[in-house]
């Protein structure tokens, strides 16, 4: 049985907030519960991180060689020289063509497809 003070408290609480246990005021308790859970999760996460860091520090102290970082393996650099690939053919002007073939023997012949081929006989 509640004492006088508790009955007064309940009357005052419900006078201002309606039903105390299940009314709007109960949201205060729900919010607080959520807040407490959030804090607890954060503390647990922090404790986990701190534990992991501590474990790594202890391991590094006890087994310095094993914990020392291995020498980095450097992959050999393979440099591929960019070769200038000569084009299969070059388009030149008529003047350039004439300058190239001037005073040089040429052989003009048709192939089986009836296409004309011009062959320079001497450099």
């Amino acid at each position: 049985m509640a004492n006088d003070s508790e009955r007064h408290d309940r009357l005052i609480g419900e006078t201002y907030h309606g039903d105390w246990a299940d009314g709007p005021a109960s949201s205060f308790a729900q919010n607080a519960a959520r807040h407490a859970r959030r804090l607890r999760r954060r503390q647990q996460a922090l404790a986990g991180v701190a534990g992991a860091v501590l474990l790594m520090a202890v391991t590094a102290m006890l087994f310095p060689r094993a914990a020392a970082p291995s020498r980095p393996v450097v992959a050999p650099k393979i440099e591929v020289a960019a070769k200038a690939v000569a084009p299969a053919y070059e388009i030149i002007s008529d003047q350039e063509l004439l300058a190239e073939v001037r005073d040089r023997p040429l052989l003009a012949m048709r192939d089986s497809d009836d296409k004309m081929k011009v062959i320079v006989l001497a450099n």
């Binding site: 007064h8 609480g13 105390w20 005021a25 109960s26 205060f28 308790a29 729900q30 807040h35 407490a36």
Partner: protein, 175 residues
């Protein structure tokens, strides 16, 4: 229960709200001279502070004392935010001694409540006394008054609203 509060257990928090919340609210309402908005805000902040600092505790008197200190601390913070420094000094001049026992303001609130109850019409006062002082369940009240439970709840709501108006008026006059 305190371990449940620290864990954020919903059931523990519901119990805490039911068993300890009204006393905290009364303390805050008295400390704000009936400013229920400020008292409500301080109540929410008190709960959050309890959530942050709650640890398992076996002694109920110790826990209650701690709650009073937390509520007072939260109320100071709220007053500091809302009021000027001069008002804060006036507040402390009225309540210079920090004790875990009932303060002068709380005694004033209890007196104002008694007076507001006396000012209610007889039916409302009888209903509130039966519900809150005698602890009669609504179901039994409905049988006694030959009303439905819903009708009794409505009458209770109206009676509390009237009590609140009278209480605010008394606190405003004497605050």
């Amino acid at each position: 229960m305190t371990a449940g509060l620290a864990r954020g257990d919903d059931e523990a928090w519901s119990r805490f709200h039911r068993d300890y919340g009204p006393a905290i609210f009364r303390q805050l309402l008295a400390g704000t001279w009936g400013d229920h908005d400020l008292a409500g805000e301080a109540l929410q902040l008190t709960y959050l502070r309890v959530a942050r600092h709650a640890r398992p505790c076996d002694s109920e008197p110790m826990f209650k004392g701690w709650l009073r200190v937390v509520a007072r601390s939260v109320l100071n913070d709220c007053l500091r935010k809302r009021r000027s420094f001069r008002h804060l000094l006036q507040f402390w001049q009225k309540q210079p001694i920090e004790t875990p026992e009932e303060t002068e303001a709380e005694r004033n609130l209890a007196a104002a409540l008694a007076r507001a109850m006396q000012e209610l019409v007889d039916d409302d006062r009888a209903l509130l006394e039966a519900k809150y002082y005698a602890g009669t369940p609504v179901r039994i009240l409905a049988v006694q008054l030959q009303l439905s439970e819903k009708a009794v709840e409505s009458r209770l709501t109206r009676a509390r609203a009237e009590l609140r108006r009278k209480l605010q008026s008394i606190l405003a006059r004497h605050g």
